[in-house]
Amino acid sequence: MHRTDRNTAEIESLYRQHGPELLLFAQAVTGERGRAQDAVHQVFLKLIEKGSLRQVVDKKAYLFACVRNAALNEGKQRERNAPLDPDAAWFIPPDRDYAGEQNLRRALEALPGDQRQVMVLHVWGELTFSQISDLLDLSSNTVASRYRYALAKLRDSMFAKENYCANS
């Protein structure tokens, strides 16, 4: 197989493997599914064109960094801190728990942007705090601290709402 074809196949395989987490992360950054999708596509198409992932040691972290840059650059061209799209689903819920999905999405939406990014990167991107600190150019302690705050807020937000719904 030609070298370029091998690279393309490898990049397409990475897209299939990490695409969902990258898309979710891009959504957490941009707040909009369409823009998130564009950012992810842009990254992968550039990678295919250049065919240069051989020298990257931590490919997953690299992909998250690329998607973040693409999403931020794209966001700069439009508007900063765009509000999240309230209707577009972000997740495939377990057992068709669409209410739970909406609940989670709204809880994520309520988080500050930096905490939301850390949350998505750690829980769904499965990056370590060290990887996230490199990616966001923060110390590991800051990342861990943001994560703890985010987790607590998310839990409070989700279950307070559920308790409220159950009581009413």
Binding site: E12, P20, L45, F91, I92, V123, L154
Partner: protein, 134 residues
């Protein structure tokens, strides 16, 4: 619902799987492949232009030949079939014909059955009577 500890809450969150992104748009061929395609297209265009030019030249040359032949056929300098070949007409042809070939063509295929008018002699007959010393 009881408050979950961090690990269980994380596990609960992970049950929500992120949506699968849309497939990548059609992947463009690599730069090298694109260059090869462009080069091939240019080469094909150049060959097509050359072939077209050669064809045009060939057609024009053929037309010129056809026109020349038609001109020669309808040339008033050419002797009529009914007109006998005489020294005078041969000299006239030699003087006016554009080329030796045209002159020979003009004199060829004469009908020898046509009787000569009075006072005129056939050039072939004259030449046949001459004694050529070699």
């Amino acid at each position: 619902m009881p408050t979950l500890d961090d690990e269980r809450f994380e596990a609960y969150l992970k049950q929500f799987r992120p949506l699968v992104p849309e497939p990548l748009p059609a992947v463009e061929p690599s730069l090298r492949a694109r260059r090869a395609v462009a080069l091939g297209a240019w080469a094909a265009a150049a060959v097509a232009i050359l072939v077209l030019g050669a064809l045009t030249l060939h057609i024009r040359t053929n037309r010129a030949r056809i026109a020349e032949t038609a001109e020669n056929v309808g040339n008033p300098e050419r002797l009529q079939d009914s007109q006998p070949l005489t020294m005078q007409s041969a000299n006239a042809l030699m003087a006016k014909a554009p080329s030796f070939k045209a002159m020979v063509d003009g004199m060829s295929f004469r009908s020898q059955a046509v009787p000569l008018p009075k006072g005129k002699r056939s050039a072939v007959a004259v030449l046949g009577k001459e004694k050529v010393k070699l």
